[in-house]
């Protein structure tokens, strides 16, 4: 059984069909990348998988770990082990990062029938993960993402992922707005989490991130359809020739 199976997914947003029959299978242990030009539907796919409301699925199905993902609420998908690293992480004034992280972890643990963690047990674990992402302790007591720089926000996303230890991590343009140092830190955070029972879906416009997080498969999404799939070399090719040469939707795999 594959970890994620997307079959003929059609999605409508505000009357416009954005995804026009996406098929994609991701097995545990793999890293897949979705590449594509702006407006091709990459972020829509990520948001639908994370169960954002207001995205109208008109056809198709998605199985996550064998379960019907499209029947899940956002919080249930998260508890089942799906994690979306946001392209634009949301600022939440008044909620400290440490409290937020522990609340999220405990929500997930509770769902899985595990005991909740108190602050004493949680903090050492959190500090260890922060070290990996070269994050200063001051982020713990600061409000979630408030007044964080772009790079700090993205690192904070990866920190959340590291704490929640999902089965599937979806990175939605995590590389956008990152300088090369921050990109390396984020990538090493992701690479440290790679394991045989975990998969990643890396959504990106550029090849650069894939230089650090080397994917097993690359898919090109154009106008709501995956028009080509291949190995990591496909990303390099795209970087040189651009999306225009990939061909029309007619060449879908």
């Amino acid at each position: 059984m594959s970890l994620l199976e997307i079959k003929n997914l059609h999605v409508n947003v505000g009357g416009n069909e954005i995804l026009k029959g996406v098929n994609l299978t991701v097995d545990a242990g793999q890293v897949h990348s979705i590449m594509g030009p702006n407006g091709s539907g990459k972020s829509t796919l990520a948001q639908v998988l994370a169960r954002r409301e207001n995205y109208n699925v008109t056809d198709g199905e998605v199985l996550f770990n064998g379960k019907d993902l499209l029947a899940m609420k956002a919080e249930d998908a998260a508890c089942e082990g799906l994690f979306l690293a946001f392209q634009y992480p949301v600022e939440i004034p008044g909620v400290s990062n440490a409290y937020f992280l522990r609340s999220a972890l405990n929500a997930v643990r509770k769902y899985r029938g595990q005991d909740e963690m108190d602050a004493m047990d949680f903090l050492p674990k959190l500090r260890e993960k922060m070290k990996l992402l070269e994050m200063d302790e001051k982020f713990l007591n600061r409000s979630v993402n408030e007044a964080f720089s772009g790079g700090e926000k993205k690192r904070n996303e990866i920190l959340q992922m590291a704490v929640l230890e999902p089965k599937l991590g979806i990175l939605d343009e995590t590389d956008s707005g990152l300088d090369i140092d921050a990109l390396r830190i984020v990538a090493s955070g992701v690479n440290a989490m790679r394991s045989p029972d975990r998969a990643f879906l890396v959504v990106t416009h550029y090849q650069r991130l894939l230089h650090y997080i080397v994917p097993d498969r690359v898919h090109v999404l154009v106008d709501g359809r995956i028009v080509r799939s291949g190995g990591p070399e496909l990303a390099l090719q795209l970087e040189e020739t651009g999306y225009a040469t990939v061909g029309s939707a007619a060449g879908a795999v």
Partner: protein, 462 residues
């Protein structure tokens, strides 16, 4: 025309009830042998009698209808009524208080109070007993700061000055633990009014925290309270006003703060209870370099009406004032924030800031917010801003995408909003007290189960 006649007839009737109360009081009032006090009361009553209750036509009251107060024949709750039991008062206690003074319908109740062990130089008693024992100390301050010409309720309170809290912090004394003043309205077989009058004097270089806490045990009640707080040179005072009476109660409160040179005063108002609340906070920065924080949170549901009237007067150079009021309104609740800043001619280098943020949780909840800046000096910095919004869908989704269920996510965001106010309070028993009250009330108003944990930044990592 017809409606106007009815209104004024009711108004006249209502004024007569107060006149009866006043003539009754004059016969045996505390301190009636003191000419200055008699005059103060008489002046207060004359003023009230001349102007009556404010109406919607009054600019300062245009968002708040007082019909329910005017039409109810409130009588003075004064003599011979039984006290509540200690057990009844138990749930209202505050952990970590230096002492608790209980006022039943405005009268000091020694049997229910606990004076504890106060530091040397901290005098806490009732205004009535202080008037009997040491009238000169009271005369030096009482009524000297409040301008009852401005507000008929203040005039009415002044007419009925008898009892309330008297607190005196001597020079350079630090009263560390908070002084808890607990005002309870009790049920009567008539609608009852009380007029607590409090005098707080913090002498030079002293420090204190005072918590005024208004609660009720049922019955129609109007509590019309006035506090004069004198913060002398270099004093540091935190004042809390907590309103948590039940839905039959009306509460009109005025906090008049006089700040001396380099005094630092924080006023924290937390309004959660009563059918109608009018919260007047009026600091005057009268000495150079004074700092005043005016911090507030109002949370309303059902048909509650919570009106905040801020009047911040800068009367000296180089003073700072920061107003932050957050409102959470659900159901058909109506909130008002009126933030007036007056910078007098000589108050150069004034730094005044005002922010009012509101969350409306229903289509029927309402907020009126009105800044009003009057600046007569030319070298000042004044900013104001107001926002009205709902819980942000983006934030809600973000939390849910991390596994936190919808109800918990909503509660977390509301408490985060409330925490903006809590975070401006110093750590200590007063803040802890207020925090737990807010948590349970936010949960009640929004129909979300309470949770003991707090998302406050300070709470998590030590």
């Amino acid at each position: 025309m017809g409606a106007g006649n009815v209104a004024s007839a009711t108004q006249t009737q209502s004024l007569e009830t107060y006149a009866e109360g006043f003539s009754g009081l004059e016969k045996d009032a505390v301190g009636r042998e003191l000419p200055w006090l008699r005059k103060l009361r008489q002046d207060g009553f004359d003023r009230f009698n001349a102007v009556g209750f404010p109406t919607l036509r009054d600019e300062d009251w245009r968002f708040t209808s007082l019909a329910a107060i005017v039409q109810t024949p409130f009588r003075l709750a004064r003599n011979g009524h039984g006290l509540p039991t200690a057990k009844q008062m138990e749930p209202f206690r505050m952990a970590g208080a230096a002492c608790t003074l209980v006022f039943v319908d405005g009268r000091f109740a020694p049997a229910l109070s606990s004076l504890g062990k106060l530091p040397r130089g901290v005098a806490v008693s009732s205004l009535a007993s202080e008037l009997a024992k040491n009238p000169a100390a009271v005369e030096a301050h009482l009524g000297r700061y409040l301008n009852f010409q401005r507000d008929p309720f203040c005039a009415l309170n002044t007419a009925f000055i008898e009892d309330g809290a008297y607190i005196h912090i001597a020079k350079s004394v630090v009263a560390e633990a908070p002084i808890h003043l607990l005002y309870v309205s009790t049920p009567h077989d008539f609608p009852a009014v009380s007029h607590p009058r409090n005098l707080i004097v913090a002498e030079e270089n002293s420090q204190a925290t005072i918590v005024e806490d208004y609660v009720s045990l049922g019955g129609a009640a109007l509590c019309n309270t006035v506090t004069e707080l004198v913060a002398a040179e270099h004093s540091v005072v935190s004042h809390y006003m907590i309103e948590r009476e039940d839905a039959q109660a009306f509460n009109i409160s005025t906090l008049r703060i006089q700040l001396g040179r380099a005094a630092d005063v924080a006023s924290h108002s937390v309004l959660m209870g009563a059918a109608l609340v009018r919260n007047n906070v009026h600091p005057v920065l009268a000495g150079e370099g004074g700092e005043c924080l005016i911090n507030g949170l109002f949370v309303g549901g059902d048909r509650q009406h919570l009106d905040n009237y801020m009047l911040v007067e800068h009367a000296s150079p180089r003073c700072g004032s920061r107003q932050f009021y957050n409102g959470i309104l659900a159901g058909r609740a109506h909130g008002v924030f009126h933030g007036r800043i007056i910078v007098h001619k000589d108050a150069q280098k004034t730094d005044a800031k005002q922010t009012n943020r509101n969350l409306l949780l229903s289509d029927t909840a309402q907020i009126d917010t009105k800044p009003q800046l009057e600046i007569y000096a030319d070298d000042v910095k004044c900013t104001h801003g107001a926002t009205i919004g709902q819980i942000e869908e983006d934030a809600l989704f973000y939390l849910r995408s991390r596994g936190i269920d919808q109800a918990s996510a909503r509660r977390l965001l509301l408490m985060a909003f409330a925490n903006e106010c809590l975070d401006r309070m110093k750590d200590g028993p007063a803040r802890t007290h207020v925090e737990s009250l807010i948590q349970s009330y936010v949960a009640e108003v929004t129909g979300i189960a309470a949770n003991q944990a707090s998302p406050a930044a300070a709470g998590e990592v030590k």
